[in-house]
Amino acid sequence: SAVISQKPSRDICQRGTSLTIQCQVDSQVTMMFWYRQQPGQSLTLIATANQGSEATYESGFVIDKFPISRPNLTFSTLTVSNLSPEDSSIYLCSVGTVNSPLHFGNGTRLTVT
């Protein structure tokens, strides 16, 4: 199974700044996903990071707020831009397909002050 390294593990950021989260996988994977988990809530899919093309965003998420890079088959970044307290969440990257188990990174806990 894939081993996923996600960093930072946590950060405290000021309102109006941005945070970039990195996700590194120990093997080449086709699909990488970014999820958000708001406090006490379930996971919501933000977008699918596609290698060589733009990310596919879910309803309610836009590229200007959550730009994603996927330069190769083992790495992706998610940036959360123009931070507000409502962005305080855990952000998780995962790899896999919907027909097989997803493997998750340990998440990035973001607190916006």
């Binding site: 996923i4 996600q6 699909m31 996903f33 999820y35 988990q37 809530q41 379930s42 996971l43 919501t44 899919l45 699918t48 596919t56 879910e58 855990i90 998780l92 995962s94 919907v98 027909n99 097989s100 188990p101 997803l102 493997h103 998750f104 990174g105 340990n106 998440g107 806990r109």
Partner: protein, 111 residues
């Protein structure tokens, strides 16, 4: 909107007892998965059951799937303190690449 809805939202039982969590979903699926999350960390995959399967076992875990009722249950037998975690069901939904997660059940095992 969430595809999966777990109940109960929270469950507290004594160590050694069995814990049952339920999940309902709305649209047709190809498979349903259960995940565990400890203390806000990454999720760990527990079990995947395909739409043509009715029951699946893995160690102390037993998952059932009733596609006619669009529901699934996760049974953890002989619970241990280490089973304390949040449990989520997740389904593949048409048109989405990623899984859709339910709201989760927070399970507390009292020693």
């Amino acid at each position: 909107s969430q595809q999966g809805e777990e109940d109960p939202q929270a469950l507290s039982i004594q160590e050694g007892e069995n814990a049952t969590m339920n999940c309902s979903y709305k649209t047709s699926i190809n498979n349903l998965q259960w995940y565990r999350q400890n203390s806000g960390r990454g999720l760990v995959h527990l079990i995947l059951i395909r739409s043509n399967e009715r029951e699946k076992h893995s160690g102390r875990l037993r998952v059932t799937l009733d596609t006619s009722k669009k529901s699934s249950s996760l049974l953890i037998t002989a619970s241990r303190a280490a089973d304390t975690a949040s449990y989520f069901c997740a389904t593949d939904s048409s048109g989405a690449d990623g899984l859709t997660f339910g709201k989760g059940t927070h399970l507390i095992i009292q020693p």
